[in-house]
C-alpha cells in the first residue's frame, strides 16, 4: 500500500486510506455500541425466576360436567371446561370453512370432555366471560369478551368480533385421569 502512495505521487490513495480508517472506526463503534446496549435491552425480557414459574398441576375431580374453572398459569388465567355431550357435538359439527381461524376440535383437545385454553382474548388481552356459571357466553355458547365484543365457541375458537385468532391451547399433559399438568 505505501508503495502506491509513494509511486503515484498524488493524494488519492492517501484519502482512500483515510476513508477506510473512518469507515472501519465507525463500523467498530456501531457494533460496539450495539453489543454494549444488548444487555440492557435483554434485561427487560422475562427473567429466570419468571420463566421458572412455568407449570401448574390441577385436579379435575371436582369440576362437574357443564362447568368450568379458571386457574392461574404464568400470570394469566387458563380456562378448563368440562364439556357436555351437546357442547362437544357443537364444536365438532362446525364446517372448517365457516371459521375465522380454521382448526378442528380434535386438534384442540386431548380428551374430548376437557377443553383447556388460555383465557386471554386474542384481540387485546381481556379475560372473556363465560367460565363462571351464569355469565354471558356469547352467541356460540363458549365465551364472550366484553371489551370489544368477541365471541368464542365451545372449542374456544373465534367466531365473531375483532379478535383474529382462536383462544390459545397451552401445552398440557394428563398425569392421571383427574390431574393435568399445564406448561
Amino acid at each position: 500500500m505505501s508503495q502506491t502512495v509513494h509511486s503515484s505521487g498524488d493524494h488519492q490513495p492517501d484519502e482512500n486510506r483515510r476513508d477506510f480508517l473512518t469507515l472501519a472506526t465507525t463500523a467498530v463503534g456501531v457494533v460496539g455500541t450495539g453489543v454494549a446496549l444488548w444487555p440492557f435491552v435483554d434485561s427487560m425480557n422475562p427473567s429466570k425466576d419468571v420463566l421458572a414459574l412455568a407449570s401448574v398441576e390441577v385436579s379435575l375431580s371436582n369440576i362437574p360436567v357443564g362447568q368450568a374453572v379458571k386457574v392461574m398459569w404464568r400470570g394469566k388465567p387458563v380456562f378448563i371446561r368440562h364439556r357436555t355431550e351437546r357442547e362437544i357435538n357443537e364444536a365438532e359439527e362446525v364446517a372448517l370453512n365457516e371459521l375465522v381461524d380454521p382448526q378442528s376440535d380434535e386438534a384442540r383437545v386431548e380428551k374430548k370432555e376437557w377443553l383447556i385454553v388460555v383465557g386471554v382474548c386474542t384481540h387485546l388481552g381481556c379475560i372473556p366471560m363465560g367460565t363462571a356459571t351464569g355469565e354471558a357466553r356469547g352467541d356460540f355458547d363458549g365465551w364472550y369478551c366484553p371489551c370489544h365484543g368477541s365471541h368464542y365457541d365451545t372449542s374456544g375458537r373465534i367466531r365473531k368480533g375483532p379478535a383474529p385468532k382462536n383462544l390459545e391451547v397451552p401445552t398440557y399433559t394428563f398425569l392421571t385421569d383427574t390431574t393435568v399438568k399445564i406448561g
Partner: protein, 422 residues
C-alpha cells in the same frame, strides 16, 4: 440591542464567567413580543407551570409510594388516608395530568387556528408534537402505578396493541411486560420510566422555547413583526398577563382538586388490580379517548392487512400526520381570521375531535347520543374519516382555492383599526 451593563459587582463577576444574567435579560426584556397577543397565548406558560407542578408533586408521592404489585395499591391508599396532606398531593398530581392535557390541547388548537406551524416555525411545531407524545407515554405509565383495575387492564389492552405487528409483535409484547402478562416487572419498569419521562419533557420544553425565541411568537393576525412599533418587551407586559392567567387557571384547577377530585377518574380504579377479572367496560382516561375511537373504528381488513394492525397504524398516523401539516397547508395566509372558508373547516375539525372523544367513551354497539339505529362505531368511522381528510384533503385544496381576506399591513395597523372599530 446592546448587551446590558451590570452594576452589581457580584452579578458582573458571575456574568463574566457564565452569562446567565445576560441570557435572562435577553429573553425577558429584549425579547420583542407582538403587542396583540390574546389570552390564547397564555396556555404555553400554563402548561409549563403544570409540568413543574407534576414534577414537584410526583417527587413527594414517590417518598411514600411502593412500586410492587402486592403493595402499590395499598401504598396509594395509605397516601390518601395516613400521610399528612397525602390526599392533597395525590389529588393535585391526578388532576394535574388532566390540566396538563387541557392546556396542551388548547395550545395545539390555537396553533392550528393561527397557522403557527407554518414557516419558519416548523421545528418549533415538531418539538411540540414530540412533547405531546412524551406526555402521552408519561400519563399512560403513571396511570398504571396505583395498580387498580383500570390501571391493570388499561396497561394490558394498550401493551397488547403492539402484538398487532407481524412477526416481532409477540416477542415485543413479552419484552415490554418482562413476563407473560402485565405483572410486577411491568409495574417496576413503568415506575422507572414514569420518573424519567417528565425530565425528558423538560428537556424538550427547553428546545421548544429556544426555537420559539429564534423564530419569535406568532400572533392573532399571523403577520410578522415588522417595525419596533409592533412589539413590546416580554417583561413586564406578558409576565403580568401570564401571572393573571395563572390565577384564573388555578381557580379552575383547584376547584377540581378540592371539590371534585375524582371527576376525571374512573371508579373502577379504586378496586385493586385483579388479573382474573376484566371490568365490563374498559375506558382510557379522557385525554386518550379520541385516539381510542380512531383505533376501534377500524374493524375491517384492507389489502389483507388485519383490522387490528390497521387500527394501531391509524391511531399512530393520527399524530404523525401533524408533523407534515406545514407542507399540507398550501395557503399563504397564516391566521384563519383571514381565511373565510378554512375557518369553517377548522370548526368542523374541532367538533370532530369531541365526537371522536364521545365515541371512544361509549361501547361500539351503543347508539350515538341515544339516536336509534345510529351505532357509535359508525359515527366513529365517519369522524375518523373526517379527521384524516381534514389534513390530507381539505388543507391542501382549500389553501389553493380560497381567496383570503386582505391582511393588515402590520400588527400596529390592525390594533389601531380594531381599536377604532370598538
Amino acid at each position: 440591542m446592546s448587551a446590558p451593563v451590570w452594576n452589581n459587582k457580584v452579578v458582573k463577576w458571575v456574568d463574566d464567567r457564565l452569562p446567565v444574567f445576560t441570557m435572562l435579560h435577553h429573553s425577558a426584556y429584549e425579547y420583542p413580543t407582538p403587542k396583540n397577543l390574546s389570552y390564547m397565548w397564555n396556555f404555553g406558560s400554563l402548561a409549563g407551570f403544570v409540568l413543574v407542578t407534576m414534577i414537584l408533586t410526583g417527587i413527594f408521592l414517590v417518598m411514600n409510594y411502593t412500586p410492587h404489585a402486592d403493595m402499590a395499591f395499598w401504598s396509594v391508599e395509605r397516601i390518601m388516608r395516613d400521610v399528612n396532606y397525602g390526599w392533597l398531593i395525590r389529588y393535585i398530581h391526578m388532576n394535574g395530568a388532566s390540566m396538563f392535557f387541557i392546556c396542551v390541547y388548547i395550545h395545539i388548537f390555537r396553533g392550528l387556528y393561527y397557522g403557527s406551524y407554518k414557516a419558519p416555525r416548523e421545528v418549533l411545531w415538531w418539538i411540540g408534537i414530540l412533547i405531546l407524545l412524551a406526555m402521552m407515554a408519561t400519563a399512560f405509565m403513571g396511570y398504571v402505578l396505583p395498580w387498580g383495575q383500570m390501571s391493570f387492564w388499561g396497561a394490558t389492552v394498550i401493551t397488547n396493541l403492539f402484538s398487532a405487528f407481524p412477526i416481532i409483535g409477540d416477542p415485543l409484547v413479552t419484552w415490554l411486560w418482562g413476563g407473560f402478562s402485565v405483572d410486577n416487572p411491568t409495574l417496576n419498569r413503568f415506575f422507572s420510566l414514569h420518573y424519567l419521562m417528565p425530565f425528558v419533557i423538560l428537556g424538550l420544553v427547553v428546545l421548544h422555547v429556544w426555537a420559539l425565541h429564534s423564530v419569535r411568537s406568532n400572533n392573532p393576525t399571523g403577520v410578522e413583526i415588522k417595525t419596533p412599533q409592533d412589539a413590546i418587551p416580554f417583561h413586564p407586559y406578558y409576565t403580568i398577563k401570564d401571572l393573571f392567567g395563572m390565577g384564573v387557571f388555578l381557580i379552575f384547577f383547584m376547584f377540581f382538586v378540592f371539590f371534585a377530585p375524582d371527576f376525571f377518574g374512573e371508579p373502577d380504579n379504586y378496586i385493586p388490580a385483579n388479573p382474573l377479572v376484566t371490568p365490563p367496560h374498559i375506558v382510557p382516561e379522557w385525554y386518550f379517548l379520541p385516539f381510542y375511537a380512531i383505533l376501534r373504528s377500524i374493524d375491517f381488513t384492507v389489502f389483507g392487512i388485519p383490522a387490528k394492525l390497521l387500527g394501531v397504524l391509524a391511531m399512530f398516523a393520527s399524530i404523525i400526520v401533524l408533523f407534515v401539516i406545514p407542507w399540507l397547508d398550501t395557503s399563504k395566509v397564516r391566521s384563519s381570521k383571514f381565511r373565510p372558508v378554512y375557518k369553517w373547516f377548522f370548526l368542523i375539525l374541532f367538533i370532530d375531535c369531541f365526537v371522536l372523544g364521545y365515541c371512544g367513551k361509549k361501547a361500539p354497539d351503543d347508539y350515538f347520543m341515544g339516536i336509534e339505529g345510529l351505532k357509535v362505531i359508525v359515527v366513529g368511522q365517519l369522524a375518523t374519516l373526517y379527521y384524516f381528510a381534514h389534513f390530507l384533503v381539505v388543507m391542501p385544496i382549500v389553501g389553493k382555492l380560497e381567496r383570503p381576506k386582505p391582511l393588515p399591513t402590520s400588527i400596529s395597523e390592525s390594533v389601531l383599526k380594531e381599536g377604532a372599530n370598538a
